[in-house]
Structures are given as C-alpha cells and as structure tokens.
Symmetry: C2
Subunit: 240 residues, 2 copies
Amino acid sequence: MNVQFKKMKPIKSYQHVVDEIQTAICEGNLKEGETLPSEMKLKEMFDTSRGTIREALRVLEQKGLVSVRTGVNGGARIQGANAKPMTDSVAILIRQQKVSLHHLAEFRKMMEGHISEQAAKKADKKDVQRLMDILRDAAAHIQTKPSGWTEFHKMDAEFHLTLAMIAENPLLEANLTAIHDNIQIYFHQYLPWSEALLHDNFKDLCGIAAAVEQRDPGTARRIAEEHVAKFNALMEKNIE
Amino acid sequence: MNVQFKKMKPIKSYQHVVDEIQTAICEGNLKEGETLPSEMKLKEMFDTSRGTIREALRVLEQKGLVSVRTGVNGGARIQGANAKPMTDSVAILIRQQKVSLHHLAEFRKMMEGHISEQAAKKADKKDVQRLMDILRDAAAHIQTKPSGWTEFHKMDAEFHLTLAMIAENPLLEANLTAIHDNIQIYFHQYLPWSEALLHDNFKDLCGIAAAVEQRDPGTARRIAEEHVAKFNALMEKNIE
DNA sequence: TACGATCAAACTGTAGGACAGTTTAATGAT
DNA sequence: ATCATTAAACTGTCCTACAGTTTGATCGTA
C-alpha cells in the first residue's frame, strides 16, 4: 500500500446545497439582486426535502450571501458582498469578553493609520472631492448647533469608509466596517458630548483630508493614528 | 404623538433559539466542551418543532459557536472562540474575486508588521522561549533536507501566530489566522521550492525573534514587513 | 378612467410524525 | 479478560399539513 485513501466522509446533503449555491454566486452565475427559485422548486431541483433546503438557506443567510423574505415574490435574494459575517464574529468575541475596547482601538488605530497612508498615496482628484463633500456636510451639520454625537458619527464613519475605498482594498473596507459597527456602542456610552470635542474631531478629519490632498502619506497616517488614540484615551478614562 | 413606535418585527422562532443559546454561551452559562441537550429535549424546552431547532443549530454552527456530531452522546458541543467565520468570509471575498493575492499580502504586511512591533514591546522571557522552541524545531526540520514547503509552512504559521498571542490582541490573532488560512493556497501554487529560499525564510524568522528578544520594536516591524513583501513579490511574479 | 378596497395566489414559517444512519456503551460469548 | 454483538441515543432526511405574510389582480364605485 503506497497511498493513503481519504476517509469516506459522507457530505451532509444541506451542505451540498450550500456548496452548489455558493459556488454559483461566486462564479457569477447567480448575480446580486436575483432571487433563487422557491423552496418547493429548489427541493425538486436538488431532489431533496424542504427541511434540507431550509437548513441550507439558513447557512447561506448567515454567510451574508442571501436574504430571505416572505410573501409572494419573496424568497432568497442574492446579496452583494457585505461585512455582516465579520461584524458578527467580532461582536461575539466582544460579548465573550475576549476582546475589549482597548483591543478594538488598537486594531482600529493600526487600520486607520494604514488606510490614511494608502489613501494619500492613491487618491485622485475625484477621490479628494468625495472627501471634501463629506466634510462640507459635516461642517453644515456643526452649524446647526447639535447636541449629540449621533449625526456626526454617521458622517465620521462615512468619511473613514471612503478613505478605505480610496485605499482600494476590500479587506480593509470589510474589517473597518466590522470595527466601526462594534465600537459604536462604546461611543454612545463613554464618549461625553461637548462642542469643543466635536470641533476637535472635525479638525482631525480636515487634517487627514488635507494630507491626502497634498499626497502626504506620513502626515495622513500620523493624524489618523493620533485621532484614534486620542478619542480612545478619553473613552477608557470614562470607563473606570 | 411625540414618540416613534418601533415597527412590530415578528422575530422568527429559530432566531429566538439562536439568541438564547448564543447569549448563554457568551455569558458563560454554557461553557466550552459542554454539549447542548438533544434536539428532542431542546424542542420541548423551547416549546417548538424539531425543524426550528435544527435551523437554529445550523446558524450557530456557521457562527462557529457549536459543532454537531451524530450518534449516542452526540449533539451540539460548545466550541471555544475560533476564527472560522472570519476565515470563511475572507474565502468568499476571494472566490468572488473581490480580493486578490495583492490585497491579502498588503493586509498581511500591515498585520505582521504591527504584530511583530507589539510583540517586541510586550514579550517576556517565557514568550521569547516559546519562539525559540519553534525555531529549534524548524532548524531541525531543515536538517532533514526537505523537498517541499508543507512542513515548514506549518511551523512558519505557528511562529507568526505565537507572535500574535504575545501581542495580546485576539482580534489580531483571529484576523491573522483568517489570512494565513486563505493565503496557503497561493503558497502551494505560486511559491517555487528551493533550498535557498527556505534558508532565506528561516533567516527572516530568526531576525524577528532576535529583535523581539532584544526589545527592538522598530527592527522587528521592519524585518516582518520586508519578509512579507519579499515572498509576496516572488509569488506575484509567478502568477503572470 | 381612476382609485380604493378586497381577495386569491405564491410564497415562507412552523409543527408533527416517520424512518434511516451513526456512534457509544452495555451485554454476552469464548 | 477480550472481543464481537446488540441495543439505545442520538442526528440526518423525508413527508404532509396548515398558518402567516406579501403582492398583484380583480372588482366596485365615483
């Protein structure tokens, strides 16, 4: 005997359904927005039971590949790439107290620094314009004498996500989204509201945008890192 | 009317089951290694149908929280924290061709650089010893005149993961694992085998370990970044 | 014709029952 | 004692039935 035979591992049939559909999505044979056939039809196509189909759909749903709706013309719609599974698994690590705000912030600092640096290297005029548009909206919002973070944080997140898109790496986008989605709660809970802080925050964003515009990767990284570190320090102080 | 009522969103019953069990796991009421009651018992405990329970189990399985086995004393065992969902979602991004080797390598470079730097800041004697032990094994393996990467890559991965553990941030660990698991295929496919390259690789690891031992974060980061960049450049050349 | 209300059809959501397949532990034979 | 056999406790799969949800079609009325 010179060969090692692989152990006969009976693939569970719902897994087979998952694999087929996932492959079809990844190969592009099923495109975003399309809807899969109904459970009844899938059951016949795969020659299996409805229960099996439904288990497969739950898995695909959890992977963020489809979303299922009830009613006529309902069914499983193919979803575009999204960061949901990543957000989920980070959320679990937090709930298990394996990951603290400190961990989140360290990771975020690394990412925002890197992203800003890359953005400063790669941005073209259109990209800079997009950043400026967001800043203009943010400035307008500040004029309205707001009394809480909520609105500003939306634009803040959009700004950082746009930077990630300029940096042209979907992995950075997905991870940044996951981090932002999960750090939100800490913002709401531990970041005290003050107009001075709002202006400070806004000034940091302007600084990053300016560094990107001037193609100055080093400065972009430095401001971004300091920005994250500063606000995190504030929150950590308030946790005690 | 001064308040906005939330839309009555009928929670699906399998989702309710998922939430309850997930919470119990995160709160520590269900610990790693324990097994959930059988599907029959769960069905009665939640006063629902077996199909519903099974759909919930598929979701929990996909989240990496439980793994299900057949047979007597089988059932859903609680899993410790693991990077499976992250590995999965990165794999999907790759299969959808949203993420290329270039993206993976850029991300990895950022992480390995940061990890090595942090490890050099935080390592104690025991940590350094663990790194040295791995290097000793690797050196022994090189003595055997190997003819492929497979064995070495295992130790390489272990070395980098140990660094991440020394850096004391589970987010870094999880992401690094996800990246490693997914970049493997490229190694096998595009990294040519040569003894010179093996020695080169090994030397880099020694360099990182030495920098960590000497508490030299800057050097540790530099070597790690160059290490990743070098081997990636090799692979990218072979892809064309 | 236009515009609502009503209804039917096409779906998913849930429940219950049945039996096959798999693994372990108890039982029994040598 | 040791090994094979069997029974029990599970998950895996299939079936049927009906409730709940959404939308497009139909019909009535101005």
